[in-house]
């Protein structure tokens, strides 16, 4: 379990990173964020890059900022920094809740927000949360900067739409509409393991009627999945148990080709997707109702 040899570089600026990418065949370079996914791949020699480009010294990628539109998180911000951020807890409690579901403290001390997004593990929490929060991901390359909606960012297993010469720099999370309820749940064999399946939702309520519901599931398919047809089935309907059960059943039916592996069968994953979507919608509806009546 020792990595194959590689060259190593740790530039301290984004322009330094782009310069190194420009001097090398980008396919031979592996960007390292917190390393909590890449280091196991290196140790097991599943990844054998010629050059490891460590982003850990780029201080400009480590920040959490509030803007007029919401919150911006630098790609190299650790999960622990998110967990310790009053701003995230207040503005995006859903993002906070999904963060403390990831791994264990030593993993969150090193693992980064951008690293998880770019790794795009289908069972990872952040991509699903990015979908329901309609986050935007910002990437730079020598060719310039582009802003990518989360919907377009995650492509399939461990694959994003990032080009080999691009570097993810920040994640922009727009502010939720007032009185939006949210929920996040996952099923894992042990706390801190990758989820077998998880679900997350946001939802507004006006006079008991669902407004702009958003639903995402992770661990069920080749990437985090959002369910526009189930969302439109719920929108404008009263958020009753009956309606929510129907929406959850539609999500379960819409999961195409669920993962089937040693941890869980495809049938079980499909079943879990439905159960968890039902739970997160109910929980989000309760939060939305509390937000409307309270404070």
């Amino acid at each position: 379990m020792k990595s194959a040899p590689f060259e190593y570089v740790a530039p301290s600026t984004i322009s330094g990173v782009l310069e190194i990418l420009g001097q090398n065949d980008p396919d031979e370079v592996k960007l390292m964020a917190g390393g909590q996914s890449l280091m196991p791949l290196l140790n097991m020699r599943l990844s054998r890059p010629a050059l490891v480009l460590d982003l850990g010294r780029v201080a400009d990628l480590d920040f959490i900022r509030e803007t007029d539109q919401g919150v911006v998180i630098g790609a190299m911000t650790t999960k622990r920094a998110v967990e310790d951020s009053e701003l995230i807890l207040r503005e995006h409690p859903l993002f906070w809740e999904s963060t403390v579901a990831i791994g264990h403290p030593p993993i969150r001390n090193r693992g980064t927000v951008g690293g998880s997004m770019a790794q795009a593990d289908p069972a990872s929490e952040y991509p699903a949360v990015a979908l329901v929060l309609e986050a935007e991901l910002v990437a730079v390359s020598a060719r310039g900067e582009r802003t990518i909606p989360a919907d377009d960012f995650f492509v399939t297993y461990l694959t994003t739409c990032l080009e080999p010469d691009e570097v993810l720099t920040e994640i922009r999370i727009p502010r939720l509409a007032p009185r939006t309820g949210w929920a996040f749940q996952e099923v894992a064999r042990r706390h801190g393991d990758f989820a077998i399946v998880g679900a997350t939702a946001t939802l507004g309520l006006e006079a008991g009627v669902a407004v702009e519901p958003r639903i995402a599931v992770f661990g069920a398919g080749d990437r985090a999945l959002r369910f526009p047809s189930a969302e439109s089935l719920l929108a404008g309907q009263p958020a009753t148990d009956e309606v929510i059960d129907e929406v959850a059943a539609q999500v379960a039916a819409a999961v195409e080709d669920p993962l089937d592996d040693a941890h869980a069968s495809a049938d079980y994953r499909r079943h879990l997707a439905g159960v968890l979507v039902g739970r997160v919608l109910r929980e989000a509806a309760v939060r939305a109702a509390e937000a409307s009546t309270g404070a």
Binding site: Y8, V9, S12, N43, P106, G192
Partner: protein
Amino acid sequence: MASEQPQQGGIRLKVRVNGEQHESVVDPRMNLADYLREELRLTATHVGCEHGVCGICNVLVDGQTVRSCLMLAVQVDGKEVLTVEGLAEGGKLHPIQEAFIEEHGLQCGFCTGGFMMAICELFDRNPSPSEEEIKEVVGGQICRCTGYNAILRSVQNAAAKMGASRS
């Protein structure tokens, strides 16, 4: 020093480990666990799964617990590392170590260092953690002997000892 340009072969590394300054030249691929064990001969940091799951190789880097198998040695350049060897002071065991002995928090002892380092960070963030908060941290390492109850009691005992020494 980790540099702005790619390097193969040796990279110079300056790091303070358990209060002592070290300067080494390391292969980029050498992980922190192997550096501590093989270069510095600090073999109390044990190596279990080597892919971040078991938590046995936990050490503190600038006060934060990390899996030393998931960090490159070159990444601790300029940082402060604490290992199990750095817990006892002047021949006196750390209260966490004493508590593990008193509560039988170990049997074979292979995983124990990983637990103690994670618990160091826990106490640093929260001197009187609740049972739930302790479980969150204890659950980050794998012990195949104790069934964890004795470890939980060890942490509670250590919290009491350290609280008493503070007041």
